[in-house]
């Protein structure tokens, strides 16, 4: 099978300006992956499936990964002017100090696909795409029209991570119920305390009974007033 570098070259020859990046995997498994720019992901995926030599006709696994915003502490050299008293005279002096600054690396959501070839028996080729951020720009192109096996898996990613797959034919929640609001697989998801609470018919009945009782009491009061 081709190495990731060769696959990258093949993609770039077939889809000009595809913007493929290699993501190295430092673990023993050495399953390196290719990050696709979402603008061209669909063409690249179609190429990977239809290319005679690669023929990655089988999408085995599709999943999401959440990378929240990370605060990184960095040591930075800062130059600034300080007022010092030198030899009894106040002077402006330039001084270089090392400071620790905190920088926030913006997070993203990532979709990872593991591809194999049934006809050639090779794999896995790992491709991944990432969203711009985690809040409002979470769209990625759906690969379901290329590999049908992504249909339920992309629905699951949408359900649990909140990535919106444009071009998916039937994007609904898969495991959680439709009224559910949050995305449980995100790292910062907090379970609500009253998670078992649901308004039931029982509440409604109790409320109606209470209203009914109040009405009766009011009517009785009125009646008493009339007879007195």
């Amino acid at each position: 099978m081709k190495t990731v570098e060769e696959i990258k070259a093949a993609i770039e020859a077939a889809v000009p300006g595809a913007g493929v990046e290699i993501v190295l995997n430092p673990s023993v498994s050495a399953q390196h992956s290719l990050r696709l720019a979402s603008a061209h992901a669909f063409e690249v995926a179609t190429f990977l499936r239809d290319d005679v030599e690669l023929s990655l006709d089988f999408l085995s696994n599709a999943t999401g990964v959440d990378w929240p915003d990370k605060e990184v502490a960095e040591k930075v050299k800062v130059t600034r002017s300080v007022t010092r008293t030198l030899d009894g005279v106040e002077q402006q002096v330039e001084e270089t100090v090392e400071e620790t600054q905190k920088r926030v690396v913006p997070g993203c959501l990532e979709a990872v696909y593991h591809l194999f070839s049934v006809s050639k028996g090779h794999g896995p080729v790992v491709i991944r795409m990432k969203t711009v951020n985690r809040t409002d720009q979470v769209q990625l192109p759906s690969l379901t029209p290329v590999w049908r096996s992504a249909e339920f898996q992309e629905r699951e990613i949408f359900d649990l991570f909140g990535i919106v797959f444009t071009g998916h034919p039937d994007l609904r929640r898969l495991l959680m119920w439709e009224e559910f609001k949050d995305y449980p697989m995100r790292r910062d998801y907090v379970e609500p305390d009253d998670f078992e609470y649901e308004p039931t018919a029982h509440d409604e009945v109790l409320k109606r009974a209470q209203e009914h009782r109040a009405k009766l009491a009011a009517a009785e009061m009125g009646q008493e007033g009339a007879t007195a």
Partner: protein, 392 residues
């Protein structure tokens, strides 16, 4: 019942691998029916929203999530070893292959070696699990055809013998928690191996009896031949794996393709279907069982002595180096994979299960369209799923 799935249906067809929509013939009304979540044929809590024109199925939407417990999220909150017992509860018919897939994925991540004896034990347990699963799957399929209990009890009689072996080795019939990263938890005694040999020697006779009981049955043939056809190109594109894929005539067995563990040492054949229907799926499972007997015999003959755990394996303070790995095995239901991302900590950063049961259901609608509603039960039964794995 929610009809949201049916409404958007018209726009979603064009251009990609789906069967053409069947329109109602205009006589009478279209009946929308919720099969499940508590239907006896749904193997647990699973719902199919079916739209019927007379007896004919014109739409079918599976609805999941009744058994969802977010296993993946739970696993991110505990150590790597901590989720091993939870994998038993995915596909509770075959806990040992689930253990194996998870252990394999972690071993890919860390590069741990597995001793010879442990590899042999894994193969023996994995193949016994396959026999249990296939025999029961056939039993359930026939049960849904109306043969109430009898074939299933034949399968369960054999399953009990095998579960007794599992209990003797691991301490539990089903929730075994047996495999470890870099080996197995306990060694098998010679007496246990002899007991396995005795059970395995009896299995071919069971398979003969089971096959003779069922294969030529008129009702089985009438109801399954030519029903629920799955075209091979759709099967590959939809990620269908396991006996389902091979019944559609695609020669893809991960035991052969990846030869993970020590599968390259055993001789076995991969049975393939020719007609791509339910009957083929039934026969493939019978034939695969017979191939498993062969693997079991070879493994029981060659099993060496020695340790069952990598002596360098570290159970406490287990922290794989940062990186990721995808490991997969040929589970009895299809490709069972685990995708792990490590950030160097004691818990997995991301833990993903590739559930064959869920992905094999992608094409349920395609197989059912235009069939009678009574056949939906059979087609669904021939996919062979366990809801513990579908919903996770």
């Amino acid at each position: 019942m929610s009809t949201s799935g049916f409404v958007q249906d018209k726009e979603m067809r064009p251009g990609w691998n789906r069967p053409p929509l069947i329109e109602p013939d205009g006589e009478g009304e279209v009946l929308e029916l919720a099969m499940g979540p508590h239907h006896p044929s749904t193997h647990g809590v699973f719902r199919m929203d079916v739209a019927l024109d007379g007896e004919r199925v014109i739409r079918l939407k599976p609805v999941f999530g009744y058994l969802h417990r977010n296993h993946e999220k739970l696993a991110e909150g505990m150590s790597y070893l901590g989720s091993m017992p939870f994998t038993d509860r995915l596909d509770y018919m075959c806990p040992l292959t689930n253990n194996w897939a998870y252990a394999l994925a972690v071993e890919k991540l860390t590069g741990q070696e597995v001793p010879e004896r442990a590899e042999y034990l894994r193969v023996i347990l994995g193949e016994l699990t396959r026999v249990v699963n296939h025999a029961s799957a056939i039993g359930f399929l026939i049960q849904e055809m109306g043969a109430s209990g009898t074939p299933l009890m034949y399968a369960f009689k054999e399953r009990e013998k095998i579960l007794d072996l599992f209990e003797a080795l691991t301490g539990a019939r089903m929730m075994v928690n047996y495999m470890r990263f870099g080996g197995c938890r306990v060694d098998a005694t010679p007496a246990w191996l002899d007991a396995v040999r005795k059970v395995v020697a009896g299995l071919p006779k069971f398979a003969d009896e089971y096959e003779n009981l069922l294969r030529g049955n008129e009702i089985l043939m009438a109801r399954t031949q030519g029903v629920g056809i799955l075209r091979p190109e759709l099967a590959v594109n939809a990620g269908v794996t396991g006996p389902m894929l091979r019944a559609s005539g695609i020669n893809y067995d991960i035991r052969k393709v990846d030869s993970y563990g020590i599968y390259s040492r055993f001789k076995f054949r991969v049975p393939l279907g020719e007609h791509w229907d339910i009957y083929d799926r039934f026969m493939i499972r019978l034939l695969e069982m017979r191939e498993s007997f062969g693997i079991l015999e070879q493994a029981l003959k060659d099993i060496p002595g020695g340790p069952v755990m990598d002596p360098k394996a570290k159970l406490r303070g287990f922290r794989p180096k940062p990186g990721e790995a995808y490991g997969r095995i040929e589970g009895p239901k299809g490709e069972l994979g685990f995708y792990l991302i490590s950030d160097g900590g004691p818990n997995p950063y991301r833990y993903r299960i590739r559930p064959p049961s869920l992905i094999n259901l992608t094409i349920l609608e395609d197989m059912c369209l235009g069939q009678n509603v009574a056949d939906v039960v059979l087609i669904f039964g021939s996919v062979d799923i366990v809801l513990g794995e579908v919903d996770r």
